[in-house]
């Protein structure tokens, strides 16, 4: 097997991404179709386990909107999805597949928490800003590692960000078990972040906090960065057509690293929001896979900030709905994980593959 045919060289990477980007960016109909299809499969699953699909789906789809508490919880679930979704979106737009949002979020959460109980003398809003900055840098640097490996040596970022995920989570676990352990707590976690940095709830007793607003601000900021700055235009040029970017004189490698940094920074901020808003300190299992859930939202959202935002809410509704469904009916919560998987698997499938192949064969001109 020659090394030449591994799809890691420059032309192929660009082709791979423009292909995936094109297929993901195709019909607006596709995300809706994929979700509908997945929901239909879900109905089959519910029936297969002998439950009533109507009751289950009623709770699943509409349970979040019955009352303020459930709605608030929906918003709370959406918050981390917004940041991890935006994280994926940024990277993908720049031509990189950042699957390491989970790990970047962990590091952001951890170091944000450390800042939170270290700089206790700072006033509330300032401390929150510091925490967010520290978290952003932590997440950003971690993602930049994968970015550097890709820019310099074409190390595939899918594999590297995934591996770094595990390293990040173990790293934080180590730090929480040792240096930063709160000995008064029952489980491994850090001490509390200073009180003034606890994000207030906006719809008590539900879990949603001011963090939602921070996440929204991040989404808007990302939109601005990607679509209203020269830097953003450069990133998108690299992401859509690398050879064009070169022809324009863009330093593709530098842009790649910067893109990964910003992407990781956003994930890090998401981690900080969780820490400040939920338990008010860092504990090891604070994320039930937000990274991958955010990935789904980003892909569904056609990789633009508003779509990702919208899909984060839709997705959060499904997640919340599943939890409600489990309470109200015997259908297990993880049904939504199955649906997630189906959605992502089918997301980039072409509707008429045989036609595509046919066209490719017959069209060969002299």
């Amino acid at each position: 097997m020659t090394r030449d045919s591994i799809p890691l060289d420059e032309e192929n990477t660009a082709a791979r991404f423009s292909g995936a980007l094109r297929s993901v960016g195709n019909a607006v109909l596709q995300p809706i179709m994929t979700i509908v299809f997945a929901l239909l499969i879900g109905v089959l699953v519910v029936v297969a386990i002998g439950q009533d699909p109507i009751a289950a789906y009623h709770a699943f789809l509409f349970g979040s909107f019955d009352n303020a508490l459930d709605f608030g919880n929906l918003l709370a679930k959406a918050t981390p999805l917004i940041t991890t979704g935006i994280c994926v979106m940024i990277a993908f737009r720049g031509g990189a597949f950042n699957i390491g949002g989970e790990g970047q979020m962990y590091l952001g959460a951890f170091w944000g928490a450390v800042a939170g109980f270290t700089f206790v003398s700072l006033p509330g809003p300032l401390l929150i800003v510091v925490i967010i900055l520290v978290a952003a840098v932590a997440g950003g640097l971690w993602a930049a590692i994968a970015g550097i490996l890709k820019a310099l040596w074409e190390v595939d970022e899918v594999v590297s960000t995934l591996l770094l995920n595990y390293v990040a989570m173990l790293l934080t676990q180590y730090l929480v078990d040792n240096q930063f352990k709160d000995v008064t707590a029952g489980a491994p976690m850090t001490t509390y972040v200073a009180n003034q940095a606890w994000l207030p709830q906006i719809l008590p007793p539900s879990a949603v906090t001011v963090g939602l607003l921070i996440a929204l601000a991040v989404a808007i900021g990302t939109w601005f960065l990607m679509f209203r700055t020269v830097w953003g235009a450069r990133v998108r040029a690299v992401g859509t057509n690398r050879r064009f970017a070169q022809a324009m004189g863009i330093d593709v490698r530098r842009v790649l690293i910067q893109t990964m940094f910003i992407s990781g920074a956003v994930a890090g901020i998401g981690g900080a929001i969780e820490v400040m808003g939920v338990e008010h300190r860092f504990y090891q299992s604070f994320s039930p896979g937000f990274g991958f859930l955010g990935l789904t939202a980003a892909l569904l959202g056609r990789l633009n900030p508003w779509g990702t935002l919208a899909m984060a809410f839709v997705y959060a509704a499904l997640l919340n709905g599943a939890a409600i469904m489990q309470i109200q009916t015997p259908v297990p919560n993880p049904l939504v994980n199955i649906l997630s998987g189906i959605i992502v698997v089918l997301m980039t499938a072409q509707a008429r593959p045989s036609i595509a192949r046919f066209l490719r064969r017959k069209g060969a001109a002299a």
Partner: protein
Amino acid sequence: MSGLPQLVNADLLGALLLYTTPILLAAIGCVFTQQANILNIAMEGMMLTAAFFAIAVGAATQSVPLALAGAILSAMLMSAIFAYVVLVLGADVFVAGIGINLLADGVTVFLLERLYKNEGSFTPDTFPTLWRLTLPADWANQPVLGLLYHMLNGQTVIVFTALILVVVSHIVLYRTKIGVHIRATGENPEAVEAAGLNPTTLKIITVMISGACAGLGGAQLAMATLNQFVREMTNGVGFIGLSAEIFGNATPFGTLIASAVFGLANAVADRVQVIPALNVSPDLVLMLPYVVTLIALTFAMIQRRRGRIA
């Protein structure tokens, strides 16, 4: 440092073989797909599925062959979905691969909750024993035989199957016609088509083979030490296997060596936890396999780049 002799001894060899096996199986599966030019991100999900069904079927039937069949078939079903979506429906191989991993996680956790009322894990009360090699106990203290004893005693049938599989894979890829066709598909599908063969069919075959390998790997993970399934228990072993394949240059023997390197990291991590004298945090040591993998991968890419420019 003290404690080192306790670490670097014959027991380490046993741990080495134990930890290398699932990586090796994942890697062999990835070798086949890579020879057909497919980067198999879905290996992780296929192994997770296999691990679950190994335990589920094994607990339900109390039969080892059925447990293994359950593992292999469920993994192959996952691989069939992957093959269909990517090769027939033309989906992006990365997105689809991640989707398979999500799907596997979802299905396994769903079934954990549904069948066993526990989202975290399932440990059956009784479970049939996988065939293991038993060597005479008096070998333990002899010089050469002792080494063999510590390394091989108690290893499951899957371990030996994996080693044999390395040889078999080599033969298949380099000595059989279909192996030649697979390798040709990975390098130049047009040549394969011109020869009257169907590259898509060949690619599907490699994906199914990788599914079978994933099946064995998942079964080993679940049944080698503790007969239990824990959610997300693969913990990246599929990606480490993929990395081993890349590092081993997509050849069976190169992959064996690479898998052993990563397996060693895992074994050290495992052994260190039970040697208090070494005073190393288990978390740090558990990082070792991933870090080693990443460094090795980077190194491989640097070499590759140099080779191409030179």
